[in-house]
Symmetry: C2
Subunit: 314 residues, 2 copies
């Protein structure tokens, strides 16, 4: 019976590593640099070496180790194959096969980073105790992960949980980075909220403390102004909340999760953000889903290593 | 090893029954009436009796029977519990426990009817050969079913696949039967398309053969007029197609299925409907999902018995 499992979260500059007990206890975490040069050819060997070193350092017996879960910033299909990860200089890669090869055949599973974070939040974070959730990560972009029956929904093209690119406003004229128009990311990411704020201020006369910021307006500034009673900020957050709340309601008509978990930098605004989104979620959700909880994520930057490890425990 | 499996599709007036081989061959199908009187208390005993009679008639050995799958018109959660089925006069019911009790402990699984139809289409219909799909049934209402990794997504409240109540237009003033405003069902069901048509004709001067129909306009009439080159019909179908195509694009950002399957009475319009919907799907879908096939359902009214049976074969 395995007692230990590794979770590896690969980012563009740093690789986070975690050694867990199979009961979810994080025993130790550490980081190694991501060496992206030469098409990132050193990344998987570096990870294997770090895992082996940890096994040896702790004198672990290989039979006690369930395996290694790894997540990366790019679409990974159900077989653990990556199509592309721009930030790692990787094109197509059979992550599972290669990493397992470097680890003498140890069991490996791979996923997209946002999907792994969702699974981590289910295991030990905001969705603890559930088996299905939708996670939304509101950062520079909008990421997401869908968990059904305790497992990541990777999708036929590795695009499961790509909810940042749900087209919530086809009439939007500004183009999203993905090439489409009106993606949720354009409305609900940190950048998106700043964009909504600039548009609002340019088209309304409402006095606002935000005006003094000019072009350097940020999502954080908008939520800070809201907390100070700023009327324009309230209306900007209302617009954001309607977009996100409506989108969550649509998602609930698809997978009807036990809980929605909201993470990422923007979610640091806290309960006031949740309350705004819930108002529109409840307006638009199907009757039997109106009370589905919407909660804040709990694990912060550790969600990835938790989720990566949890993949091995099915 | 089981060789046979029963699939039972319970409707408000008729119960469809099918006996299948586990390889998907439908050996025989038959119907019994749905006795909804006295809170529908006879329905499950009637089904059990019909299954037992078939076993005896064919001289089947009980060891050869994998079990009985049953679907009903109402929300069924992952445990096979129904919360309510108005058309059967049923409130909460432990379908699995009760039916299995009437069948001497035979294995039973239960699901919502639209979800079972989706699984049926995966097994033997428009989605044959895939393990994930989104099915949309365009009938009097809009039903749906989500299949991930070969299994129905039932949802925490039995509302998985309730895509007819995805709120695609919060600004819509007319109320949906569910109490919300702007549900997909109000735009894409047979009734919804007729509604769009009446609204269009009332607010435009475009000459149209549809005007002679007055209030008796139907979705079929709209598609028939489209095929005859009617300009108003073309614009009405365009509106329907944009709503449905955009909705499918959002669904693909959630579960990224291998295929979309379109069924129900409205889908008899055929390829011209698919082509219209695909145009807007491709406009709004995330780049890696733009080529996901959208196909017509294949099994018609038999999808339910196929899917109900298939649940037993995991």
């Amino acid at each position: 019976m395995g007692k230990y499992v590794f979770g590896i979260d690969v980012g563009g500059t740093t690789i986070k590593c975690g050694l867990f007990q199979t009961d979810g206890t994080l025993l130790e975490k550490w980081e190694i640099p991501t060496r992206t040069e030469n098409s990132g050819e050193a990344i998987l060997p570096d990870i294997a070496e770090s895992v082996k070193a940890k096994i040896s350092e702790r004198g672990l017996n290989k039979d006690e180790i369930v395996g290694v879960g790894i997540d990366v910033p790019g679409p990974v299909n159900e077989k653990g194959e990556l199509s592309v990860a721009v930030n790692l200089n990787w094109g197509y890669k059979d992550i599972v096969g290669e990493l397992s090869g470097h680890l003498d055949g140890m069991k490996v599973k791979a996923a997209n980073d946002a999907n792994a974070a969702a699974l981590g939040e289910m295991w030990a974070g905001g969705g603890k105790g559930t088996k299905s959730l939708v996670m939304v990560t509101l950062g520079t972009g909008v990421g997401g992960g869908i968990i059904v029956d305790g497992k990541i929904v990777a999708g036929a093209h590795g695009a499961g949980g790509e909810i940042g690119h749900a087209c919530v406003d086809p009439e939007e004229e500004t183009q999203c980075n993905c090439g489409n128009h009106g993606c949720l990311e354009q409305m609900a990411s940190a950048t998106g909220i700043a964009r909504l704020a600039k548009k609002y201020l340019a088209s309304h006369d409402t006095p606002s403390s935000l005006r003094s910021r000019g072009d350097s307006i940020s999502a954080k500034a908008v939520f800070d102004a809201l907390k100070e009673g700023d009327q324009a900020a309230a209306e900007i957050v209302e617009e954001f909340s309607e977009y996100l709340g409506n989108a969550l309601a649509i998602f609930s008509s698809v997978v009807d999760p036990e809980v929605f978990v909201i993470g990422g930098g923007v979610s640091k605004a806290g309960q006031i953000l949740i309350d705004g989104v819930r108002k529109y979620y409840q307006r638009d959700a199907f009757v039997s889903c109106k009370d589905t909880p919407i909660v804040l994520a709990d694990l912060g930057n550790d969600a990835g290593i938790y989720g990566a490890a949890r993949m091995l425990l099915d």
